[in-house]
C-alpha cells in the first residue's frame, strides 16, 4: 500500500457573509495515495474551490483535520503554510498566472527563488529539467507574451514540477484552452501520472474525469460520489482522433 499524500478528516469550512453563515464544506473526508490522478468535479457553488484552497494550504478548515504528506495543516501559521506550499505543492491555474515580460525559465525558477536552500546553479538546472519534461526545451528564453496558451500552460506545469512537489493541484487547467490544446495538456498530465506523480485536477468538465484514475464529485459541500476509474482513456489516442487544425502550425 502506497503512503497517503493527502488525508482529510471531516473537513468543514464556514464563511460568515454579513449575518449569514455559509457552509461551503459540510464534512468532507477522503484520502489520496501517492501516484493517484484524481479529478474533483462539481458545479459552481459545490464547494470545490474552497476544497482546492484548503488542499493547497491557502486556506485552513474551520474544523476537521488535514494532513499533507503526514503534516497537520490546520493549526499552521500563514508563514509556515507558505513554506509548506513552497516545498510540497505545485499549482497549475486556469489562466496560467505567468509573470508578465518574464522568460519561461525565469517563471519556472520562481518557486525555487523562495527556497533559500537551493543555490542558483541548482535552481537553473532543475528549471531546465522541468521545461524539458513538458517539452519546451527550445522555448526557455521566450517571454510569456511570446507564447501560445498551450505553451504558457506547459510553462505553468513546469513551474509546478520544479520543486518536486508531493502533489500537483490543477485548477481548471484546461479551461482556457481549445479542445486540441486541452488534450495536449491532458496527455502531459497522464505522462506525469505515469511517472508516479500525484495529481489533483479540479474541473467542472465531466469529460476529463474519464482520463483520470479516480473521480470525486462534490455537491453542496458534500461528497456525493468517489469512485476509482477502472477504464482510463488515453488522451493521446483521443488527440490523434481530433481533426487537425491547419492554423496550428506556427
Amino acid at each position: 500500500m502506497e503512503k497517503k499524500v493527502i488525508e482529510l478528516q471531516n473537513i468543514k469550512r464556514e464563511f460568515i457573509v454579513g449575518d449569514e453563515t455559509v457552509h461551503a464544506l459540510r464534512g468532507v473526508s477522503f484520502s489520496i495515495r501517492e501516484g493517484e490522478f484524481v479529478t474533483i468535479m462539481g458545479s459552481s457553488g459545490s464547494g470545490k474551490s474552497t476544497l482546492l484552497n484548503i488542499l493547497g494550504c491557502l486556506d485552513t478548515p474551520t474544523s476537521g483535520e488535514y494532513y499533507l504528506d503526514g503534516i497537520s495543516v490546520r493549526k499552521m501559521t500563514k508563514n509556515k503554510r507558505a513554506i509548506l506550499r513552497n516545498r510540497k505543492i505545485g499549482f497549475v491555474f486556469q489562466n496560467y498566472n505567468l509573470l508578465p515580460k518574464t522568460t519561461a525559465i525565469e517563471n519556472v525558477e520562481l518557486p525555487l527563488m523562495y527556497n533559500p536552500e537551493i543555490g542558483s546553479s541548482e535552481r537553473r538546472r532543475r528549471a531546465v529539467d522541468a521545461l524539458k519534461a513538458v517539452g519546451l526545451e527550445d522555448r526557455m528564453e521566450h517571454k510569456s507574451n511570446q507564447m501560445s496558451g498551450g505553451q504558457m500552460q506547459r510553462v505553468a506545469i513546469a513551474r509546478a514540477l520544479v520543486n518536486d512537489p508531493a502533489v500537483i493541484l490543477a485548477d481548471e487547467a484546461t479551461g482556457n484552452l481549445d479542445s486540441r490544446t486541452s488534450f495536449e495538456i491532458l496527455v502531459l498530465f497522464q505522462k506525469l501520472h505515469a511517472e508516479g506523480r500525484t495529481i489533483i485536477f479540479v474541473t467542472h468538465n465531466p469529460e476529463i474525469a474519464s482520463y483520470s484514475s479516480r473521480n470525486i464529485r462534490l455537491m453542496d459541500g458534500h461528497i456525493i460520489e468517489d469512485k476509482i476509474n477502472g477504464n482510463i482513456l488515453s488522451a493521446e489516442k483521443t488527440l490523434a482522433e481530433l481533426p487537425v487544425n491547419d492554423d496550428e502550425a506556427e
Binding site: 508563514n79 513554506i83 513552497n86 491555474f93 508578465p100
Partner: protein
C-alpha cells in the same frame, strides 16, 4: 530570508517597468538635485561675501568715542571728544596683538584742482592705514612718519578722485590740490578697489597725515576714531579685549563705569552677513526639501498603485511559497532602489546644474559634500518610509483573494 533572490526579484520587477520606474524617480531626482543646487548657491553667495569682507580686512578693529553722557544727554559720537592722540600713542606702545594702528579724523569739502572740483573728504590717518585697509599704491608713494610728525601738506588719492580732478589723464603725482584753501601735494595714487558689497565707492578716498587734518583743517585735539588691525583674524577678540583694558586704564575709568568708547570689529559684520546668507540657504534648502518630500509621496503613490495593479502577481508569488515578509521585502527593496537610483541621478544632476549656473550665470557656487550626503540619506529614508505602507499592504494580501483579483 534570501536577500540575494529577493533583490534579484525586485530588480527584475523594476526593469520590467523601466518607464514607470524612471517617472517615479523623477520626483526624487528633481528633489535631490534642487537641494544640492540650492545649498551650493546659498553657500557660494556666503563664501563670496566672506571673501569680500576679508578683502576689506576682516581683522579690522574700529574704535569710536561713545558712551559719554553730559548732564544726562547722549551725544552724537562724532561730537564726542573722548579719544585723544595720547590714546593712540599708548595703544601703539602697549598693545600686543595689533599689526597696524591708525587714528582717523576726517574733513570734508570741495576738492579743487585747476578747473576741476569734486566734493569729497580727506581722511587723516597714519602710515599704517594702507596695511590695515589692504590698499596698494599704484604710482608715487605713501606719506612717511616724518610727514606725520611735520603735519606735511601731502596726500594720497584714490582712483575716483583722479578721474574727477584730472579728467585729461595727466599724472596727478606732484600736483597740488586744494581743500578749504589748504593746498595738498599729491604724492601717491591708490590702486583702484571698486565698489564694496555695500555699494560704497572705495576709491573715493583722500589720505593725508592725521596731524595735518587735525591741525591745519580742523584745529581739534581729539580723534574721531582709531582703526586697528589684529595680527590675525582669530586674534581679533584678544586684541579687542586688550584695547579695551588699555583704554579703560588710560581714561581712568573705575570698575563700575561704562566705556566711553566703542570697539567694533568686522567680525560682527561678517557674522551678521553670515547669518543672513545662512538664513537664505536654509530657506532655499527648505523649498528644495519640500520638492524632495513631494518626490517621496510620488514613490508612495506609484508603489501603492503598483500593489493594486500587481495583486495577481502577488497572489501567484504567495501561492508558490512567498511569505508575507518576502513580499514586503520585495516591495521595500523596489522602493529603496527607486529612491537610491533617483538619489544618485539627482546628485549628478545637482552637481551638473551647479556647474552650469557657475559657468553660464557666473554665480558663485560651492557644492557642499554634506548636502550630497544628507540628501542621499534623506532619499533613502524616504524610500523606506514611503515604500513601507504599500509594501505592508501587499504583504497583508490574502493569496486566495489576490489570485482571484481581476
Amino acid at each position: 530570508m534570501n536577500w540575494t533572490n529577493l533583490f534579484k526579484i525586485s530588480l527584475k520587477a523594476l526593469s520590467n517597468n523601466k518607464m514607470r520606474a524612471f517617472l517615479t524617480m523623477l520626483g526624487i531626482i528633481i528633489g535631490v538635485a534642487a537641494v544640492i543646487t540650492m545649498i551650493a548657491l546659498g553657500q557660494g553667495a556666503k563664501k563670496n561675501i566672506q571673501n569680500e569682507i576679508s578683502g576689506m580686512g576682516s581683522n579690522i578693529i574700529m574704535i569710536h568715542p561713545g558712551g559719554e553722557r553730559r548732564g544726562g544727554v547722549r551725544l552724537d559720537p562724532s561730537e564726542m571728544q573722548t579719544l585723544k592722540e595720547a590714546d593712540y600713542e599708548v595703544l601703539r606702545k602697549e598693545s600686543l596683538f595689533l599689526a597696524g594702528l591708525s587714528p582717523n579724523v576726517t574733513v570734508s569739502g570741495q576738492l579743487i584742482c585747476g578747473n576741476n572740483n569734486y566734493p569729497s573728504s580727506v581722511s587723516g590717518v597714519s602710515t599704517d592705514y594702507i596695511s590695515i585697509r589692504q590698499l596698494e599704491i599704484s604710482s608715487g608713494e605713501m606719506f612717511t612718519e616724518t610727514d606725520v610728525r611735520q603735519s606735511a601738506k601731502v596726500c594720497v588719492i584714490g582712483a575716483t578722485i583722479v578721474d574727477n580732478l584730472f579728467p585729461d589723464g595727466t599724472n596727478p603725482v606732484g600736483k597740488i590740490i586744494r581743500l578749504n584753501q589748504v593746498p595738498l601735494k599729491v604724492i601717491g595714487v591708490l590702486e583702484a578697489k571698486g565698489y564694496n558689497s555695500m555699494g560704497m565707492d572705495q576709491d573715493d578716498i583722500v589720505l593725508a597725515p592725521y596731524t595735518t587734518v587735525m591741525k591745519r583743517f580742523r584745529a581739534i585735539n581729539y580723534l574721531e576714531g582709531i582703526f586697528a588691525s589684529a595680527i590675525a583674524e582669530e586674534m581679533t577678540d584678544l586684541a579687542t579685549a586688550d584695547i579695551e583694558s588699555i583704554l579703560r586704564r588710560q581714561h581712568k575709568l573705575k570698575d563700575g563705569d561704562d566705556n566711553d568708547f566703542m570697539i567694533r570689529t568686522q567680525q560682527e559684520l561678517s557674522q551678521i552677513l553670515n547669518n543672513t546668507t545662512n538664513l537664505l540657504t536654509t530657506l532655499l534648502a527648505c523649498i528644495a526639501g519640500i520638492s524632495l518630500l513631494v518626490g517621496g509621496i510620488g514613490i508612495m503613490n506609484i508603489m501603492y498603485v503598483s500593489v493594486t495593479e500587481r495583486t495577481k502577481e502577488i497572489g501567484l508569488r504567495m501561492s508558490v511559497g512567498a511569505r508575507g515578509i518576502d513580499i514586503l521585502t520585495q516591495f521595500l527593496i523596489e522602493a529603496i532602489l527607486i529612491s537610491i537610483t533617483g538619489g544618485i541621478i539627482g546628485i549628478l544632476t545637482g552637481c551638473g546644474a551647479s556647474a552650469i549656473v557657475r559657468l553660464v550665470g557666473n554665480w558663485p557656487v560651492a557644492i557642499q559634500p554634506w548636502s550630497v550626503v544628507i540628501s542621499f540619506l534623506v532619499c533613502t529614508v524616504t524610500g523606506v518610509f514611503f515604500g513601507w505602507y504599500p509594501a505592508k499592504k501587499a504583504a497583508a494580501l490574502d493569496p486566495i483573494d489576490a489570485l482571484r483579483y481581476e
